[in-house]
């Protein structure tokens, strides 16, 4: 009879690493999403071009390749990253590119009259964006951001391949030590699913909070 409690502790440690990666990756992705998303609607050609290049590059290549590139190729040009740093960097930049399109779409979905009202009230471009457009656009972005966060959670499994001790890595360790495959893999599948449910539940309640007082305002 295998002593499962010790192995279960190992898997829980992995879950903590996965959660940590998801949180840090999401923060980076959120920053990149707003930078690139607003860059795409900028009036400066150079900024628009830069944002488009970033988005197309990171959406066009696979997360897996980006991760390996960050971990194995960057050291040769003098940037050595720990597995955690490489993981956060690749996940954040990749998901950030997808989320940037969400930001752009949401900003463009706000009606023309809102922009005209900003001009009529003599707000500057930045003021209008900050006080009028973004607060409304944020609500449009939220559900898709939730999906993106779940995608990021699922993508964290890949970092086990650059020897980061996340859930998937620990499951492999348990599998190697006990020779049992079914139990560790089923356990982590369930843990991933619970985490995904937590994210979608959290985003939904956040959405409800933010939508409060906006009934009837939005068309």
């Amino acid at each position: 009879m295998t002593q499962w409690s010790g192995y279960f502790g190992l898997i829980l440690q992995g879950a903590l690493v996965t959660i940590e990666l998801t949180l840090m990756g999401s923060v980076l992705a959120l920053i990149m999403a707003f930078l690139a998303g607003m860059g795409r609607v900028s009036r400066f050609f150079a900024l628009r071009w830069l944002a488009t290049a970033y988005i197309e590059f990171f959406r066009g290549t696979s997360i897996f390749v980006q991760l390996f590139w960050a971990y194995f190729v960057l050291p040769f040009i003098g940037i050595s990253l720990t597995p955690l740093q490489a993981g956060v960097l690749a996940l954040g930049l990749n998901v950030g590119a997808y989320a940037a399109e969400v930001v752009r779409g949401a900003i463009q979905s706000i009606g023309r009259e809102q922009y005209e009202a900003c001009t009529a009230l003599n707000l500057g471009r930045w003021q209008g964006m900050r006080h009028i457009i973004l607060p409304q656009a944020l609500l449009v972005m939220l559900p898709t951001f939730g999906n993106n966060a779940i995608e990021l959670l699922k993508a964290t499994a890949v970092v086990s391949l650059i020897s980061l001790t996340d859930l998937t890595f620990q499951a492999q360790v348990v599998r190697a030590q006990t020779g049992n495959t079914l139990v560790p893999f089923t356990t982590i599948l369930i843990i991933y699913f619970i985490l995904a449910l937590l994210i979608s539940w959290g985003v939904r309640s956040l959405e409800r909070r933010m939508a409060r007082g906006l009934d009837g305002v939005r068309a």
Binding site: E56, F57, R59, G60, T61, S62, I63, F64, V65, Q66, F68, W69, F72, V73, F76, I150, L153, K154, A155, T156, A157, V158, S160, L161, T168, A171, Q172, R175, T181, L182, F185, T186, I188, L189, Y192, F193, A196, L197
Partner: protein
């Protein structure tokens, strides 16, 4: 470490072999995903509550957990119950199942978009359920879905490097083995990225064409 073009040409044939497997896996996976997705979409519409609930939950579970772990599950756990699959077959099944849960949503939306009048007209013409599906609903539902389906197939293409984790000799795995033999990482992994970027950009062009050709719904 410097970029070495001679080395690039030397490893090119090996990488091209990997590209072939990558494309093969994507094509087979797409076919399977298209079929699985239709199956899930139809099962979820079934009047049998037990069937539609079970399939709905299973699809939700598969969508909420990482593909990498599912691949491990198929490749390492199924042999315990006597199903021994070759790596490529296991990979294609994993890709097909995972993306099938996504394409199911596309089918659902496509079927819901067929106007009510069509269903009623089919009933008025005394068509049976299977006749209604094959002659009335499916032919109208499919064309508007094609761009969305293609989108998921491109996404699947970018997930194929995960198959290297279950020893499929696709592009990423060939690049890794080349890199480990010569201990040069810059060229192989950068080339993998370039291959993916080029193929993705081509598929985006194809996608735009599909959108123009089929995306419009004629009413």
């Amino acid at each position: 470490m410097e970029w070495d073009w001679n080395f690039v040409w030397e490893i090119m044939p090996t990488l091209i072999q990997g590209v072939k497997i990558t494309i093969l896996a994507t094509l087979l996976g797409s076919v399977l995903a298209a079929i699985v997705g239709l199956g899930i979409a139809l099962a979820r519409r079934s009047p049998n509550k037990a069937l539609s609930r079970t399939v709905g939950w299973a699809a939700e579970f598969i969508r909420g957990t990482p593909l990498l772990v599912q691949l491990y599950f198929i490749f390492y756990v199924l042999p315990d119950i006597g199903i021994l699959l070759p790596p490529l077959v296991a990979g294609v099944i994993g890709l097909g199942l995972h993306y099938g849960t996504y394409t199911a949503e596309v089918y659902r939306a496509g079927i819901d978009n067929v106007p009510r009048g069509q269903w009623e007209a089919a009933k008025a013409c005394n068509l049976s359920a299977s006749q209604t599906w094959t002659h009335i609903i499916i032919p109208q539902a499919i064309p508007p879905m094609i761009p969305a389906l293609a989108n998921y197939f491109i996404a699947m293409f970018k997930e194929t490097p995960l198959l290297s984790a279950i020893t499929v000799l696709e592009l990423m795995n060939q690049a890794k083995s080349v890199a480990n033999t010569y201990y040069r990482y810059i060229e192989p992994i950068t080339l993998v990225g370039a291959f993916f970027l080029v193929i993705s950009l081509f598929s985006v062009v194809l996608l735009r064409w599909l959108e123009r050709r089929y995306g419009k719904i004629e009413r």
